[in-house]
């Protein structure tokens, strides 16, 4: 039975439709990622589920509990890290945790949380002096203080440097190990691919695809893009182009001076023929890459739009 289920959610702000029609169900223990460009309606969706916004239409159910009837119970069983940190700046890390712990019936020991978010050494520091990554970890710590079954993380890594981002990933993976259900939003495709059990791609307030990352990518065509550069430059590239076009296993080909972009469903066959030719001619291939398909391609395939971070 899903722990969170939303059906046909809709929310408009004046003339702007933030969420047009969103439905999904989150299974216990999974990392469920909502991904989409800025303004796709991720945060609005999350805020409706968290009880901050009342949807114009649609239903939200936490395993049978609804906000209308069981608001108090739901608040006890969820933990939220909102997009803006929203911490008490003049209190220390530990004081923030203790204050939030006092709001709930049950709470996890502050010491344990400090360890999980790796802020033991900064427990006595005021929030004001923490770095962006440390603040974000504290915000996640506050979301875990009541030992919730369901944790919402709204863009936890936005604006962080790569190391700080990886620290947050570690926390999310730890939550998964503990059997918690995590609902995450991000606009980093790489992050969604690495962390999620399932990804829900949202654009213009509607779900455009929902599945495990590998399954989503698998649904795309088998076409791969190969890029190569020749040390000998344009003339070598030109000859290679002619050869590839004759081979017939290439779907599309673009040449920019000494660089070739080749799209093919059978990269090994295309390259086999090409390497035989370069060997013969004594040409040297300087750079060669076969690009993996990623969630970005899924997004492009479904929306026809460019993906921008």
């Amino acid at each position: 039975m899903p722990v969170v289920e939303v059906r046909r959610l809709r929310k408009t702000f004046g003339a702007v439709t933030a969420v047009a029609d969103i439905s999904f169900a989150v299974e216990p223990g999974e990392v469920f990622t909502i991904i989409g460009p800025n303004g796709a309606g991720k945060t609005t969706t999350l805020e409706m589920i968290e009880g901050l916004l009342v949807p114009d239409a649609g239903e939200i159910s936490f395993g049978g509990l609804t906000w209308e009837k069981d608001g108090g119970k739901i608040r006890e069983m969820i933990g939220v890290q909102p997009q803006t940190g929203a911490l008490f700046d003049l209190l220390t890390v530990e004081e923030n945790l203790r204050l939030f712990a006092s709001f709930y019936r049950k709470s996890r020991p502050v010491r344990e949380i400090l360890e999980m978010i790796n802020l033991q050494d900064h427990r006595g520091k005021r929030v004001k002096v923490l770095s962006g990554g440390q603040r974000q970890r504290l915000a996640i710590g506050l979301a875990m203080i009541n030992d919730p079954d369901i944790i919402f993380l709204d863009e936890p890594t936005t604006g962080l440097d790569p190391q700080a981002r990886r620290n947050i990933w570690d926390i999310i993976l730890k939550l998964k190990e503990m059997g918690k259900t995590t609902i995450l939003t991000t606009h980093y495709m790489e992050e969604a691919e690495k962390l999620s059990d399932r990804v829900c791609i949202v654009d213009q307030g509607a779900v455009i695809a929902l599945d495990a990352p590998a399954a989503l990518i698998g649904r795309l065509t088998k076409e791969r893009e190969i890029r190569l550069n020749f040390a000998e430059g344009e003339s070598a590239a030109q000859q290679a182009e002619e050869l590839l076009r004759r081979q017939g296993n290439v779907t599309r080909l673009v040449r920019e001076a000494g660089q070739l972009h080749v799209w093919t469903e059978r990269p090994e066959a295309a390259l086999y023929g090409l390497f035989g030719f370069t060997q013969e001619q004594g040409y040297r291939v300087e750079q060669l890459s076969i690009r993996e398909m990623s969630l970005e391609d899924v997004f492009i395939a479904y929306t026809g739009k460019e993906w921008r971070d």
């Binding site: 009342v54 608001g71 608040r75 940190g85 003049l90 204050l99 006092s102 009541n146």
Partner: protein, 371 residues
């Protein structure tokens, strides 16, 4: 109720946040002390002692001028410039250059008038008026003597106050400053809520089972603590540094303080409900505080205001708070007095109206779309 179990932690959090903010200390404690010092020095300092530096010009020495000069030299507080009389021109220049406060031109046989020359800046100055009074008295006596008559009527001056002892200006000022500071900490104190709303902290609390009512009450409780700290520190400074003498009636002081803190924090709460930014809030609080500071009898009695301003003073809550605090700290009366209860009622009315409007605005703005 379960929500009240959250109170101790919330109170402790508010207490830390309030007293860790340096500006709270500055505006609520040090600033009133500075203001009190300034006002005592400007209006209250040594109000029985008269002091002035004057030059004396004697155009033509004669009996009358010598007599007047001799009397002037004996006046305590009056210091005569140089070793003795100067010429009138010299004297006028000294006044213009502000080397002396005034020039007194002694009478001559051609001109029996006693001249008093002061800089126009000081025309309405108390010292100028006192000097002119003294000289007038001298002229009058000289006139009587010339006529060979003795004065029949005389003037006796006595001051009264409803205080059990004689009320000094310092006592009046100190209690005014205490009331003003407590009122200001209420008017300005809710700026934290604007910040918490802007940063999403209030939204964050709504994501938890935290009770916003208990959170607000915990903040109010800290405001009371701050008020008590203000009263104690300012009283100590007033009594030990400025020699204020107090007659405290604990019951009326506590009632006036309690009601006043509620009323002014309610006003601050209303300001926080209508302000989008810290700047907007500070603007509102400043207008309110300045308006009331000068109209509500903090530094001088309300009766000293122009007639047309007096009805306004009768409406403002600070007028009643100042009265209430004075009732409790210097007049030692209050609960037995009908006017005290009127003051309490006016403050409560202000507080209730401000709170209800504020609460309605908060609900309309941030919670309407939420649960």
């Amino acid at each position: 109720m379960r929500a009240w179990k959250q109170f101790p932690q919330m109170f402790s959090a508010h207490l830390k946040m309030t007293f860790r903010e340096k500006s709270v200390w500055f505006w609520n404690i040090f600033f009133p002390v500075i203001l009190m010092t300034l006002f005592t020095v400007i209006f209250g300092g040594n109000n029985n002692e008269f002091k002035a530096n004057v030059a004396v010009a004697e155009t033509q020495p004669n009996e009358a001028s010598a007599q007047l000069l001799a009397q002037l030299e004996q006046l305590p507080g009056l210091k005569i410039h140089g070793d003795g009389p100067v010429t009138e021109e010299e004297g006028r220049r000294l006044v213009l250059d502000k080397k002396v406060f005034a020039l007194i031109v002694l009478p001559s046989e051609d001109n029996p008038a006693v001249g008093l020359v002061v800089h126009r800046e000081n025309e309405r100055n108390i010292t100028a008026q006192a000097l002119s009074g003294m000289l007038e008295q001298f002229v009058q006596q000289a006139n009587y003597a010339a006529l060979g008559a003795a004065p029949v009527f005389r003037l006796d001056v006595e001051t009264v106050t409803s205080g059990s002892d004689e009320l000094k200006f310092q006592d009046f000022l100190l209690t005014g400053m205490i009331a003003l500071s407590v009122a200001q900490s209420g008017l300005f104190g809710m700026v934290g809520f604007v910040e918490m709303r802007r940063k999403g902290v209030l939204r964050r609390l709504r994501l938890t089972p935290a009770s916003t009512a208990v959170f607000g009450v915990a903040d109010l409780a800290v405001r009371f603590v701050l008020g008590v700290v203000q009263i104690v520190l300012l009283t100590l400074v007033g009594v030990f540094a400025f020699g204020a003498r107090l007659h405290i009636d604990a019951a009326s002081l506590i009632v006036a303080f309690f009601v006043g803190v509620l009323a002014f924090n309610a006003l601050g709460y209303l300001f926080s409900a209508v302000s989008k930014s810290q700047e907007a809030y500070m603007g509102l609080a400043n207008i309110a505080s300045f308006l009331m500071m000068f109209i509500s009898g903090v530094f001088y009695p309300v009766e000293a205001l122009p007639e047309w301003l007096q009805p306004l003073a009768k409406i403002l809550p600070l007028t009643y708070f100042v009265d209430g605090i004075r009732d409790g700290m210097v007049y030692a009366r209050g609960i037995a007095d009908a006017s005290f209860w009127i003051a309490v009622a006016v403050m409560l009315a202000w507080g209730a109206v401000a709170f209800l409007i504020g609460a309605r605005l908060y609900r309309a703005k941030s919670i309407a779309a939420t649960r």
